[in-house]
């Protein structure tokens, strides 16, 4: 079991030599630099890009954000939701109401609108948190359908006819593009960047432990119930932010579109095919979905069947998704969240630095 001369540290505060723990790799530094360049390119796009390409970037950013939120939910908190469209829809509607009916600047209304999905997440979680696995999933879908039915019957938001964001006509096309692309950049910083920061923090350790074994995590001091609740609320707000931005770009929202279950399907496809539980996987999945949606959606049913088959095959033969397959062959973590123990720090032990 161990050597004959066992010397356990007497307590955590005892004088124990400092150790070196590595948290970055060469590939992660390159990825960080690439992300910074892409972000600068993104926020300057209205000055050099075409309007059609800006719409592509908005769409891709929205897919990336909602999928990353779903990744936190399902990949870490073990909460498989198929009702994320509830948060897309309520945030979108809230933004339209704040901007159109209350005269609030639409770019500010986007940020205010995320409070409503956050509030909606509270009773939803209170209602569903005792359910497990597929029961929880069905529960989220039922809640989303119920919210959609309620919105369909509210005359104040034009019921089934939906709403149009006429206030955007006060801005020029260039101003709108600057506003929306900057909102997208902020959204990616908050959702994807925020997730990366969270996963690298001490809470990331708890989240990963909770993903792998919630019973053991609880008995090691992790407050699993509270963490799950916080992730559910945060994911609702992040998903809502993406919904608000998406419908601001569309200038129109209807209950059928805002509460469309395809929002949840997109999340599931991206995360499962790309790779659950990793940020890289979500990036890969979002790229695949975006390209497929852009260039093959015209094939209608055949396109849907192929997407479904890809999800099925991944679930059956490559549980860790495409990124999982890649990383099992080549070790190039782009967004590492782990901690690699190297040993006693050379500085503390008097060795060569």
């Amino acid at each position: 079991m161990t050597t004959a001369n066992i010397t356990l540290p007497t307590h955590p505060g005892a004088s124990i030599p400092d150790v070196t723990v590595i948290r970055h790799t060469g590939s992660s530094r390159i990825a960080a630099a690439a992300c910074a360049i892409l972000l600068v390119a993104m926020i300057s796009m209205p000055w050099w890009g075409q309007s059609g390409h800006i719409r592509w970037v908005v769409e891709f950013s929205v897919y990336l954000a909602i999928a990353q939120m779903w990744n936190l939910l399902a990949g870490y908190a073990g909460l498989v939701s198929v009702g994320q469209q509830a948060f897309v829809g309520v945030a979108g509607y809230t933004m339209f109401v704040l901007a159109s009916n209350f005269g609030i600047n639409p770019f500010l209304a986007v940020w205010l609108s995320v409070l409503v999905p956050g509030l909606l997440a509270l009773p939803t979680y209170a209602l569903l948190h005792r359910l497990d696995g597929p029961y929880f999933a069905i529960g989220t879908w039922v809640v989303a359908e119920a919210v959609k039915l309620i919105v369909l019957n509210i005359g104040y938001v034009n019921a089934g006819s939906g709403m149009t964001l006429r206030v955007m006509s006060q801005y020029t096309l260039h101003q709108r593009e600057v506003g929306i692309i900057w909102l997208c950049a902020s959204m990616l910083l908050v959702t994807v960047g925020g997730s990366y920061w969270l996963l690298r923090s001490r809470h990331g350790l708890a989240l990963t432990a909770m993903r792998d074994n919630p019973v053991a995590a609880e008995s090691q001091g992790v407050n699993v119930k509270r963490l799950r609740f916080l992730i559910f609320v945060a994911a609702a707000m992040g998903t809502g932010l993406a919904g608000s931005i998406y419908y601001m770009a569309q200038l129109r929202i209807t209950p059928a579109a805002g509460f469309n279950p395809s929002w949840a399907n997109i999340c599931i496809f991206i995360v499962m095919v790309g790779g659950v539980g990793t940020i890289e996987g979500v990036l890969v999945g979002a790229l695949i979905y975006f390209v497929a949606d852009r260039f093959f959606a015209q094939y209608g049913a055949v396109y849907m069947v192929i997407l479904g088959l890809m999800t099925l095959l991944t679930a059956l033969y490559a549980r860790q998704g495409i990124w999982g397959l890649i990383s099992s062959r080549i070790h190039i973590p782009l967004f590492p969240v782990g901690r690699k123990l190297i040993g006693p720090s050379p500085a503390k032990t008097g060795g060569t630095p």
Partner: protein, 241 residues
């Protein structure tokens, strides 16, 4: 005499019609090693689950360091100083061995990241896992998973450590080394309750033995006396008087 760190009175638990524990009383003194014996299904692990908070009590009450545990959640009990291992190891399979310990050190022992890094590295060294610090726990052998269970429980810096059959499946030499490690753990002023079927291992270190059978306590006392008890010999070793 050392103070009582854990006491339980009238501990009872049923799963449907199956009565797993019936009015069991237990007392553990600080610094003591209490061994728990009993045939399969005697209620040993259920007793652990109720001390750690993984299962709720039907009747009775536990007191830890003079305060009732009531329905306190497992994570709070861990932070108060109750650490445990599981009979079937429950590693965080996707995390490395080192990260497994970091969870316990940062959340169970509430250490800062810097303190936890050094504390966990030291425990890995002492538990013979230093060379495997950066391997994912899912890739470890059963033996190493058992070592990891113990190391992770230690990383939560417990004052009461619940060991659930950690010697199961080990060779004689490995079990001997494990006993040495348990002795060392006691020197850190950690009280230990150890469920074990490997009699040699538990007899080597236990100050006291408690024997359960069908949810009832049938013996509690010094190891030699308990092993000589005719009821224990009949129930646990199949020796008829």
């Amino acid at each position: 005499m050392a103070q009582i760190i854990l006491s339980g009175t009238g501990i009872s638990k049923s799963y449907g019609a199956l009565r797993v524990l019936q009015g069991v009383d237990i007392e553990v003194r600080a610094g003591e090693i209490l061994g728990i014996l009993g045939p399969n299904g005697a209620g040993k692990t259920t007793l652990f689950n109720m001390i750690s908070g993984d299962a709720t009590l039907d009747a009775g009450e536990f007191t830890f360091k003079g305060e009732a545990l009531r329905s306190e959640a497992p994570h709070k009990r861990c932070r108060r100083g109750i650490g445990r291992t599981y009979q079937i190891p429950k590693p965080y399979a996707g995390m490395t061995t080192f990260e497994n310990l970091m969870v316990a050190a940062m959340f169970g022992a509430s250490l800062s990241e810097r303190q936890a890094n050094a504390f966990c590295a030291s425990i890995l060294e002492d538990c013979g896992l230093a060379a495997k610090a950066n391997l994912t726990a899912g890739s470890l052998t059963l033996l190493d998973r058992k070592r990891l269970e113990l190391a992770r429980a230690l990383a939560s810096n417990p004052s009461l450590l619940l060991l659930d059959e950690i010697a199961g499946g080990l060779t004689e030499e490995e079990a001997r080394q494990l006993v040495e490690l348990v002795r060392q753990i006691r020197q850190r002023n950690i009280t230990i309750i150890w469920i074990e079927h490997v009699l040699n291992a538990i007899m080597a270190v236990a100050d006291r033995l408690l024997v359960l059978n069908f949810g009832e306590k049938i013996a509690d006392g010094p190891p030699k006396e308990v092993i000589a008890n005719p009821d224990v010999q009949r129930v646990y070793m199949g020796i008829e008087a």
